[in-house]
């Protein structure tokens, strides 16, 4: 973590002649908005604002639950609805928070990008006057290689260059100025931090792009060629298009469910599902493809996901004139054992072949419960296993006007309750449980037969062009995060001085500040050892001091510093012995 140094204020502009109040206000607001504190408050608000989204039902996830909530809380629900509480993540206030946050983010990182760009090109600064005051400090003498008379500081520069070479090898950024060496390392921390924040923006862009140009549709698909589905809007049971997408943009393809396999534990818990479909994409040969939960069918411009499955009983109705019609209606499942509930409607039946006139009051429908595995005993209302071990179909016949002509759209899985209430559609007789192949003759001589069943799957067809942007940015985000959290910015300086008593003034002897400062750092010069005079030197020798400054919280810096000093000294001795 950086002990954030407040950015150096830009040099004061000469005050404008006529200070503009509005401008000042804007500028101050902008500064406020882009401060770390504001970012913190906004982050916190964002977290709080997300909470209702998890506690209240959300339309985007389950519209039925929202409707149920309306029924349970008739007073509260409309108020909450007006506040956007059922669409939290699309609500004005949620959007306002994150848009402000990201504006703040931009305002924050743009100047930092600029600063960092400069820092990357800048050379490490000259050493401070008193290296001993730095958290890390070391000093030692070096025997000179040249003779004492050469003087002029060449020797010091040579030593400095040798030190610089060691540092460069250790990938420090180095600047040599006369007898001093400045070095800095750890720029990656800030690079990573900026990468992190920039990719955060990129993730948002990806999400937004996907929302605008993506689409999805849900569809229940019954097995068999006669029930195939083609990718157009009308064919979806439920769909959502991004604002920039229309019907014509959907890629043309058709799917036919040819097989569905499921396996279960004895408890009924599912083990695996897989669906096999025949795929026809325009311009490509038709092919067969299998997909399952967790491995969607990836087509060109759309992915198909397997969400669920169930059964569609095949029901044949033979009317009183002997004409047969077959219904293959999916019965949506109501529990984990795949009990299905639905209706089979027969609109065009009981037409007198002599007159050819249809009587709208002689339409027939069956309400049904499908049990893939019947219990051993009645009541036969719940399946006891999800696979078809001993299927049974409970049917309740209705006769009358189904109300389908009225043009009022209703659920295809339920009879029109209004018709029943008004007596236009009447239940005829009690229900009856049929097994596959069984036939039941009704009071008017017509009959109904439970022929068998087909499987159906529920599919979600989706396309999200923003996904790749989000994925790539997230990966980079993680890289940036790790760099910023593990990176450590630090500087070291070396100063080479002639070991000449007259030049010792800045370096000789223990620093009184320092010695008194017992808890200030881990290294302080020991008077007995650091005094270069205590060593009698024959050749002209130099005195080297080194100081280190961690610029971020970095507990291991002392160790690194010591290793670095050791390496520098080692290099020095090796050179001498050569």
């Amino acid at each position: 973590m950086t002990l954030v140094e407040d950015r150096v204020a830009a040099p004061e502009q000469p005050p404008p002649r006529r200070p503009n109040r509005l401008w000042a206000l804007l500028r101050n607001s902008w500064r406020q908005l882009t401060s770390m504190r504001t970012a913190l408050v906004l982050l916190f608000l964002l977290a709080v604002a997300a909470i209702p989204g998890s506690l209240l039902p959300q339309r985007a996830i389950s519209a039925e639950k929202v409707n149920a909530y309306f029924v349970q809380h008739p007073k509260l629900a409309p108020v909450l609805d007006r506040l956007g509480a059922f669409e939290v993540f699309a609500s004005v206030w949620f959007s306002a928070i994150y848009l402000l946050l990201f504006t703040s983010l931009i305002g924050c990182i743009v100047p930092r990008l600029r600063d960092h760009y400069r820092a990357l090109r800048a050379v490490p600064p000259a050493p401070p006057r008193h290296l001993r005051r730095l958290p890390q400090y070391a000093s030692w003498s070096v025997a000179g290689s040249g003779d004492a008379r050469s003087g002029g500081g060449d020797d010091e520069e040579g030593t400095a260059r040798a030190i610089a070479a060691v540092l460069r090898r250790r990938r420090w950024r180095v600047a040599v100025r006369g007898g001093t060496v400045s070095a800095e390392k750890g720029y990656l921390k800030e690079t990573g931090n900026l990468l992190f924040h920039v990719t955060l923006l990129a993730v948002l862009v990806g999400v937004g792009y996907g929302a605008w140009y993506g689409w999805h549709g849900n569809r229940l698909l019954v097995g068999g060629a006669d029930k195939a589905f083609c990718n157009t809007l009308q064919q979806f049971d439920e769909q959502g298009l991004g604002p920039r997408v229309d019907d014509g943009d959907l890629p043309p393809f058709c799917l036919e469910l040819t097989d569905f396999k499921a396996s279960y534990l004895d408890s009924g818990q599912p083990k695996s599902f897989s669906a096999t479909v025949r795929v026809d994409e325009r311009g490509r040969p038709s092919r067969s493809a299998t997909f399952s939960v967790n491995s969607p069918l990836r087509l060109h411009g759309a992915n198909v996901y397997l969400l669920g499955h169930g059964y569609a009983p095949i029901i044949r109705y033979t009317d009183r004139y002997g004409k047969s019609l077959t219904s293959i209606a999916p019965f949506p499942t109501t529990d984990a054992m795949l009990t299905g509930e639905g209706v089979a409607t027969f609109q065009d039946v009981n037409i007198d072949p002599k007159t050819g006139k249809r009587d709208p009051n002689q339409q027939v429908a069956f309400e049904g419960i499908y049990l893939p595995t019947m219990p051993d005993q009645p009541p036969y209302v719940r399946s006891v296993f999800p696979a078809e071990r001993s299927p049974g179909l409970m049917l309740i016949p209705y006769r009358g006007n189904l109300g389908l002509e009225a043009g009022i759209p209703g659920s295809v899985y339920q009879l029109d309750q209004r018709q029943i209430r008004t007596g236009k559609l009447k239940q005829v007789g009690d229900g009856k449980l049929l097994r596959p192949g069984e036939k039941w003759t009704l009071d008017d001589g017509s009959s109904v037969e439970f022929v068998g069943s087909r499987q159906f799957v529920t599919l979600s067809v989706r396309y999200d062009p923003g996904e790749k942007i989000v994925l790539v940015s997230s990966a980079l985000l993680l890289v940036g995060l790790m760099l910023t959290l593990t990176g450590r910015r630090r500087r070291v300086w070396f100063r080479v001085l002639p070991a000449d008593p007259s030049a010792q003034s800045p370096a000789g002897g223990p620093d009184p500040d320092r010695a008194a400062d017992s808890n200030g750092g881990t290294a302080a010069p020991d008077p007995a050892l650091s005094d270069p005079l205590s060593e009698s030197t024959t050749a002209r020798s130099s005195f080297v001091e080194a100081g280190g400054l961690p610029r971020t919280d970095y507990s291991g810096f002392a160790e690194e510093f010591n290793q670095l000093v050791a390496a520098v000294r080692r290099a020095g001795t090796q050179e001498e012995s050569e």
Binding site: M1, T2, L3, V4, D6, M36, L40, L43, F44, A47, A50, I51, G53, S54, A60, V88, F89, A138, S141, V207, S267, Q269, K271, S272, S292, V293, N294, N303, Y305, L307, S460, R462, E467, L471, L477, L481, M482, L485, T486, S518, N519, T522, A523, A524, P525, D526, P527, A528, L529, S534, E535, D553, N562, V565, A566, R569, R570, T573, E576, S577
Partner: protein, 333 residues
């Protein structure tokens, strides 16, 4: 195997309980943690590698860099003997507990023939195991924080107790949606980061207590701070653990999104579990921010970290038990 796993759970809880008691004994017997006390003593001369070797001709560097070292008073064991003994027994028993804990998870995995992270019971087992292991690792590096063991053991006993009594689920294979290698990656990362964040919450809370204590507060929770390491030490430890755990948590969320894309067709859908993961992530990001903002006090920042852990708990318990969503596979009804 399944029965063995269940028995080992009892052993593990029992071991943590004993560890807790020993830590409490150490605490009561009054072994003061010595962290924060600065011992100034001349460092043993550090052998600078090669320093005397290169200069075969005796022209080696003259003066060794002199230094006085502040020793981080690692030798807690020099305190009153009985207390130290209790402390050491506590750590040893914690190790045993962690081994039994590992045994619980492994045998369960073997019995189920899959990664043992299929339901909430197993998830809690794994998260706490990571927490316990990370605790032992941190402890081995910084023996001075041993006093925190009391609270770590307490957290273990509580969480494992809840796991065993409330969340227990018989072994079943995974439902198809969980049968994916991204699931394994996602849950591994989630377990790891949750365990680390669990551990990180301990010094965070202790820091808040200790900080109050150091400011002279002597009412109930602050009195607990009498014998724990210095506030600054706890604070730094809190931060280190969080910086370690946060990227893993970030990765866990991302891996979850990849898995969600394959399983449900969208990488993010604001399912309650996802929503709370998002909330936790944002709160922890807030913590790191606050810690980096000089004008925000360290105890405020640490409160945010504690809040972050509260949101993790909410996600683990609250969402699984009270809110239904796509992730409702906890196996607890």
């Amino acid at each position: 195997m399944a029965a063995l796993s269940d028995q080992l759970l009892v052993v593990a809880i029992f071991a943590y309980l004993v560890a807790m008691i020993c830590h409490a004994a150490e605490y009561a017997l009054g072994n003061r943690a010595m962290v924060g006390r600065t011992v100034v003593r001349p460092a043993r001369e550090r052998v600078l590698v090669g320093a005397g070797v290169g200069g075969a001709g005796g022209t080696g560097p003259g003066a060794e860099p002199p230094r006085v070292e502040k020793v981080p008073a690692a030798d807690v064991d020099r305190g009153p003997g009985r207390a130290a003994l209790a402390g050491r027994i506590a750590v040893a028993v914690t190790v045993l507990g962690a081994l039994a804990h590992l045994g619980v998870i492994t045998t369960r995995g073997i019995a189920a023939d899959r990664m043992p992270w299929g339901n909430m019971y197993e998830f809690v087992l794994s998260v706490t195991f990571v927490g316990a292991t990370a605790w032992l690792v941190v402890l081995s590096r910084r023996p001075a924080i041993r006093h925190l063991g009391l609270f770590v053991a307490l957290a273990m006993v509580l969480l494992l107790g809840v796991a065993g009594l409330v969340l227990y689920t018989p072994i079943v294979p995974l439902v198809p949606a969980l049968n994916s290698y991204w699931f394994v990656i996602h849950v591994t990362a989630a377990v790891l980061s949750s365990g680390l964040l669990l551990l990180a919450a301990v010094p965070a809370v202790m820091y808040l207590i200790r900080n109050g204590y150091e400011q002279g507060k002597r009412s109930f929770p602050y009195t607990l701070g009498a014998r724990v390491p210095a506030a600054a030490t706890l604070e730094r430890l809190t931060f280190r653990l969080h910086t370690f755990a946060f990227p893993i948590w970030t990765f866990a969320v991302m891996a979850g999104a990849v898995w969600a894309e394959a399983a449900w067709g969208r990488y993010w859908g604001w399912d309650p579990k996802e929503t709370w993961a998002f909330i936790s992530w944002v709160v922890y990001a807030g913590y790191l921010h606050a810690r980096a903002t000089p004008s925000v006090k360290r105890n405020v920042a640490t409160w945010i970290a504690v809040l972050g852990f509260a949101t993790m708990l909410m996600n683990l318990f609250g969402v699984n038990l009270f809110i239904s969503g796509l992730h409702s596979y906890a196996g607890v009804n």
